[in-house]
Subunit: 166 residues, 2 copies
DNA sequence: CTAGATAGGTCAGCAATACTGACCATGTCA
DNA sequence: TGACATGGTCAGTATTGCTGACCTATCTAG
């Protein structure tokens, strides 16, 4: 696996640097999701259920449409997942106060407990990473991650991510 | 969506900070993969094909087993993908020089061209993010991403990521 | 040389996730 | 009233992944 390169070529280094980013994205996401997928299997739920659970917990009372705009999947996909979560008592819905077509979503006690359990695992992973790297690195991480988003999404996500804190 | 919090409670802030990480991971990965998935559809290939293509290009001459250890999927899964890539002339294989049971993998010219096209898109995304945030942020990003990995994986990935550069 | 381990393939069956397309019910609002 | 929006549902399909079972070729140690 000997690769020729010119150490003096800044273009090569740049390319190398970018590939490192791509790979870190792959590896980090791989490990980040693997652990939780195992846990979900135990509850007979999938990753899609977790995503719905997480974002319903994060934005209580949001509509199905809002959830769709976050997850960026089709309503058919989310519909199946929500049906499971409703049936199993993790989520409850109420029609919107102004527009009664809307279904607004909340976690039940049971849903909150599960969400908490799942999120804790992932939080612990971040806590470890943050502890090991320090505040400055975390700020860099945050900036780069936001920079990776589609520009159209960025402001919205930035708001959403900081939203219920600070 | 009014959430009660005590601004003086460091535990809350910590929890909030960790949740931001989790969400950034979701949003960044979502946008990072969406664009390329569209392109892949055009070639009748899936994300799994891209991953194989990418890592074969990255580690030319590696064995199927090594690829498996990177992707962390079963041989049945990778086998199907490799079959497609071989049939369509993106990848070629030779038996190992010492151990002839091994199938060592390389990209063909055609495979290199496709890999380059796909990777370029993702590189451009990273290039933009890096440009907007600066070298310090990039270093922080790198550290945190490595910190998110399973500890057992970290040294190996760090080596692999830096591997063919620096 | 033989036995067991290893690298890898293959077949069958299954599940989760996501998609498109079509169609319907219910509300809102101009 | 009619156009539009929110949301659900049904049907069909593709991709990716899994488990389990079994096969071949090859290597290596005794």
């Amino acid at each position: 696996m000997v690769e020729t390169r010119s150490p003096a070529n800044p273009l090569f280094l740049r390319d190398e640097e970018l590939r490192q980013g791509i790979e870190l994205m792959f590896y980090a996401y791989r490990d980040f999701t693997f652990e939780i997928d195992q846990l979900l299997k135990h509850y007979q739920l999938g990753r899609a259920h977790h995503r719905a659970l997480y974002f319903i917990g994060r934005h209580p009372g949001q509509t199905v449409g809002h959830l769709l705009s976050i997850l960026k999947v089709t309503k058919q996909s989310i519909s199946r997942v929500l049906k499971d979560l409703l049936e199993q008592g993790y989520v409850e819905q109420k029609s919107g106060p102004r527009d009664r077509r809307e279904r607004r979503l909340w976690l039940t006690e049971k849903g909150q407990a599960l969400e908490r359990e799942l999120t804790d695992r992932q939080s612990q992973r971040f806590a470890r990473a943050y502890r090991e790297t320090g505040a400055e690195a975390v700020e860099g991480f945050r900036k780069v991650m936001l920079g990776l988003l589609d520009p159209v999404e960025r402001a919205e996500v930035d708001k959403r991510v900081r939203g219920s804190g600070r």
